[in-house]
Structures are given as C-alpha cells and as structure tokens.
C-alpha cells in the first residue's frame, strides 16, 4: 500500500505526510537531499527510507496492482487506504468537529457561508492557527495561506487566538505529562503569525492571478496545509457586464482550487456571503455567487443565528450527514457553545 508499509517510526511517517509525500512513488522519485531537508533527517536516514520505498513500490509494480490502472488513476482500495491518512484540521469546537467528522478535511474544498458578524472570519483565523498545531498534539504541523479580499484580517485578533491556542496546548500537555520543553520554545505567538502567508487582494483580477500563482507557491512551500479565502465572493459581486464571463472565471477558479486541494493534500476553505434570492414571491437567504457556484465545493457549511446562539449546518457533503451544531465566538477564538443543553441535532 503506501507510507504505512514502511518500517519507520510513527513520527517519521507523520513528517513524510506533512511534507507532502503521500505515496511510495513520490518518495522513490525524489532525491536524497530533498527528502532529507523536507523531513529534517540526516542524509543516511533519508537514503534508508528511499531504499525501502523503491523496493516496495517495485514490488507493487511487479505484483501488477498498478498496471491495471490508467496512468494517473488508482484503485478504489488504494484511495480508501489513502483516506485513512487524510487528515483534518480541528475548529477548536468539539461539536463542530463532530459533525464535520473530525474537522475540516484536507484534499477537499469546504465552503462556509453566513451573514455578516456570524463568525466566518473568526473560523478562518482559527483554522489558520490550528493547522499549525504540532503532530504530537494531534495537529498537522503545517502552515496556512490566508487570502484576504475584504480587509477583515486583524493581526491583534490573530495574536489573541494564537496565544489562547498555545495556552490550551500547554494545559493539554500538563494533563498528559508530556515533555513540552521543546514545544514551549517553538510555539510562540509570533511564530504562529510567521507561519501564516497573508495575501491581500483588492480586485477580481488580482484574486484570479493569485489563485493561478498558488500552484507555484505551494510547490515551494510544501508545508502549507490550508488555504483560506476570505471571502471568495466580494470582488465578484460588482457589475460584470458579461455574466457569462463571471461564471467562467468562477468556474476556472474553483477548478484550480480543487486541484490544489487534491494534488497537495491540503484543505481549501472558501468563505462566502449570503444574499437574498427572490423565490416564488418571497425572499430567501442563500449563498452568493449563484446556482452554478454550488458545484464548486466538496462540502458546504452554513452559519446562522438560532435565537442568541450561533449554529453551523452541513448543507452539502458527499460523506457527512446533514446536521447542525452550536458554536460560540469567544475572546480565545471559536469554542463550544456555552449552553450545554443544546447538543448536536440530526436533521
């Protein structure tokens, strides 16, 4: 199968995955120096891993399991096994993580939409911080790309959330008596800021140019594990003389993002706005960018107010059940809702 078969330690395996090596083939075709720097091991260790990988992928090839598959394809069995190693990024709200099946999934494009003030940017920032949680704490130890189209990214808020995340982690290690000396030094709020690649775009042409550039950027920064676009809608809601052009541009953009998610095994999160749609004489709330846009994401989450409580609802997903969960926005970031009586509701 894949990385799981290699006779190496779990942490090395984790490092391989975090560096983007999800198949034996990808290891077998890289050079020793690249491998050594990517996963931070000595060259001799890298050579060892490389040899294991080449041997095993050669075995696989000779057993014929790959020759039955079209170039670039894979069997469903391989895909299932790969999925076991697919990771997800926690939202810091257990209820929300639960309905998401663990968190925001890598290799998928998730759209999150809601009214102004419901917490879209807050979730975006929380994810940009949480993706950096080290492997030893159940995170991905990755970096984030934050594309800000509206100017909602406030550094002081990111610092607040980052500090709270670090505090939570040291509390966690306290409970489990982990030796967090090394991490106490590594995880500093400023280093969390440094690991967020922040892009500010001011027009739709800049947004498209940037999405096209991301392939090159992520190739050079293989530890990026999440791309957040806040919001994907803003620059496209101005008057487009040619609506067909807009649909085409949006379609191309969403395709590129899906490819990025799949090829680099990262999560793509698109934040969207809501608008009112005139349906049968009344106005209904719906996500912006029109009907054709709803095909551009794997999962779709809608945030809404339920009385005085914020809720998230899974509107569309190939693998998750339709369910809603409460969450809250606190000074520490996204957390569980304070009213413990309201639990997850299955729809």
């Amino acid at each position: 199968m894949e990385i799981g078969m290699l006779p190496i330690s779990a942490s090395k395996r984790g490092k391989l995955l975090a560096a983007g090596y999800t198949t034996l083939h990808s290891i077998a075709t890289t050079s020793i120096t690249h491998l050594a720097t990517d996963i931070e091991v000595s060259e001799s260790e890298a050579l060892e891993i490389l040899n294991f990988a080449t041997r095993n992928s050669a075995l696989e090839r000779s057993s014929g399991s790959n020759t039955n598959v079209i170039q670039g394809g894979q069997t469903a069995w391989d895909m299932l096994n790969e999925e076991r190693f697919s990771s997800s990024i926690t939202t810091s709200c257990a209820d929300l993580d639960n309905i998401l099946g663990g968190g925001i999934n890598c290799k998928e494009v998730t759209e999150i939409g809601g009214v102004p003030g419901i917490g879209k940017t807050q979730i975006g920032i929380q994810l940009a911080v949480n993706v950096q949680i080290p492997l030893d704490y159940g995170g991905l130890g990755g970096k984030a790309i934050y594309i800000d189209t509206e100017g909602s990214f406030m550094v002081e808020r990111v610092l607040q959330i980052a500090e709270a995340c670090i505090e939570d982690m040291s509390e966690y290690s306290h409970h489990f008596h982990k030796d967090n000396q090394a991490y106490g030094v590594k995880m500093h709020p400023n280093s969390i800021l440094e690991n967020i690649f922040y892009f500010r775009v001011c027009s739709y042409t800049e947004q498209i140019a940037l999405v096209n550039y991301l392939d090159k950027f992520v190739t050079e920064h293989k530890d990026v594990k999440i791309i957040i676009i806040d919001s994907v809608t803003f620059h496209f809601r101005q008057d487009f003389e040619d609506m067909a052009l807009r649909t085409r541009l949006l379609g191309e953009m969403s395709l590129k993002l899906m490819k990025l998610a799949k090829n680099f095994s990262l999560a793509v999160v698109m934040l969207n706005q809501v608008t009112t749609k005139h349906v049968e004489g009344s106005f209904q709330l719906t996500l912006a960018l029109g009907d054709s846009w709803s095909h551009s994401c794997t999962n779709r989450i809608i945030l809404y107010w339920n009385g005085d409580e914020r809720h998230a609802y899974i509107d569309k997903s190939p693998s998750l059940k339709s369910a809603s969960a409460p969450y809250s926005v606190t000074s520490r970031g996204i957390r569980n809702s304070t009213s413990s009586s309201k639990r997850i509701k299955m729809v």
């Binding site: 002081e156 500010r200 101005q238 009112t276």
Partner: protein, 283 residues
C-alpha cells in the same frame, strides 16, 4: 495599480493603526479607535450623533500617533446639505484648547479637512479616480490624507432606486463597486474609512435577518434596523450603532458594537456637549 501575484504577500507582524475618535472611553471599546484599511459604518437615526462623531474624528486624526491620531488630513464627503461648518469650527476650537500647539501641524485644523458634496451613487463611483488623485497629491505634499468620511451613504441610495428586482440588483452591485473602491484606497494609502448609514423601521413579519451581536436594535422607543439591507452589510467590516432615547429634556445615548472582526460586543453610554462627543464611565 496592478500588482504581481507574488507581491500580494504581506508581512503579518504589524498591528493595524487606529485613529482615536476623540474620547478615551469610546476608544477603549474599540481597542484603540477606528482601524485603518477597513470600512467602519456608523449607523443610527437622525440626531443620534453620527455626524458629530465624524466631525470629531476628522479633527482628532490631525493629532500625532502619540496622542491617538494619524497626523493626517481628512476628506469629508457629505451628501446632506448644508454641511455643518459652524459646528466643525466650534469643535476645532475645542481641540486646540485641549491640546498644546506643537501637536498640530497647522494653526487652523480646518485647513486640513477637504470637503466635497455629492448627490448620487453614480456620482460617487465617478468620483473615485479623482479621490485617488487627491490622495496622491496630498501625500506628495507631506500632509497625507488618512481619513475618508462618507456622510451618509444611505442618502445616495434612498431616492433613485425602486423596489423591483432589477433596481435592487443594480443598487446592490453599486454597493460592491463603491465598497470595493473605498477598500482599495484604504489598503493602498492606509486610510480610516468611516461611512454613516441611516435606520429604517423594523416591520414585523418581514423576512428579516439578524445581523450582529444584538437581536434587536431600539432607538427612540421603537425597533429599527440599518438601511440598505444585507447586501450593504456585507460591504462593511465593522458596524457601530448609535441609539438615543429622549424623555423630557433628558437624552440617553448609547454606542454599541454590532460586529467587527477584532472586537467583542460592547455598549457604552455617551453624551454630546458643545465641546464634543464623549463616553460616560459606567457607574
């Protein structure tokens, strides 16, 4: 002003600059004041203090950063005539008397405030390139404009748009054009942008959507909601609601934070005197 994709990457270590609104108590709820590079909306009914706070802002902006200002000139775009020039003069005298002379670059604060009246939304869109030229000009003269006020945005849209779908769509795309244009300038020139908006009566039974920290907004004893709907709400980064309630000659005023990407909900009482607009410490 097109930029290459790789140049869009920015450093994430500088905290955003803020401009004081002229009162430390109100600044406290805003964590320092109104932030730059974003659009802050001040919404409230007539007489709630929107213009007052804007006038105070364009004066306080001239203070040096050590005193919460931006050392900046301001552009004040007004839509409702006449412009309250006498009140601005009165407030400027209050500013001069409460701060030593050396803090202000000019002996007459009014010389650093540019006024421009506009009458329609399309008018405003056409004005955007001129605003950019104006910003460049003042920057080159070392008296950079750091604050743009639009008072009020609602007035631009109230009259000429009907209620049919086509008009609403046209209105909505103008919102994004204007907001996009202002945000671009705010980003490029590090501007504070404040936009004032009016309220409309809340009508029961309407499919109204809750936006922000408070499920109900009340002013003068009746339920209200910000004008221009959910589309415009998507165009601003932060929204502050000013309310007033009058019983006899006593007026109680509150400033509440409806939503902001960096602030929790908060509410504080304030008063308007001849010297300006000031928060009241909680008793």
């Amino acid at each position: 002003m097109k930029r290459e994709a790789q140049n869009l990457l920015q450093k994430v270590d500088e905290k955003s600059e803020k401009c004081t609104v002229g009162c430390p108590i109100l600044d406290r709820n805003l964590n320092g004041g109104i932030p730059t590079k974003s659009i802050t909306e001040v919404v409230g009914e007539s007489g709630s203090g929107k213009t007052q706070i804007c006038l105070q802002l364009v004066l306080s902006a001239q203070l040096p950063p050590s005193h919460g200002g931006l050392n900046g000139s301001s552009l004040y775009i007004y839509t409702e005539y006449p412009f309250p020039i006498r009140r601005l003069k009165q407030l400027s005298l209050s500013l001069l008397s409460s701060h030593p002379n050396h803090l202000l670059s000019s002996s007459d604060p009014l010389s650093r405030i540019i006024l421009r009246g506009i009458s329609s939304a399309e008018n405003f869109v056409e004005l955007l390139p001129d605003i950019e030229l104006c910003l460049r000009y003042w920057k080159s003269r070392l008296l950079p404009i750091r604050v743009i006020v639009v008072d009020s945005i609602a007035a631009l849209f109230r009259s000429e748009f009907g209620n049919c779908c086509f008009d609403l769509k046209r209105r909505s795309s103008l919102f994004f054009k204007i907001s996009g244009g202002l945000k671009l300038l705010a980003e490029r020139f590090g501007l504070v942008v404040v936009v004032t908006n009016q309220v409309v009566d809340f009508i029961e039974g309407n499919e109204s959507v809750r936006i922000g920290n408070f499920s109900e907004l009340c002013s003068s004893g009746r339920r209200v909601c910000p004008a221009l709907g959910i589309s415009w709400a998507n165009c601003v980064n932060s929204r502050i609601f000013l309310s007033k309630d009058q019983t006899g000659i006593k007026i109680t005023r509150f400033s509440s934070l409806l939503f902001a990407p960096h602030l929790p909900l908060s509410s504080s009482q304030f008063v308007i005197t001849e010297k300006g607009l000031f928060g009241v410490e909680n008793v």
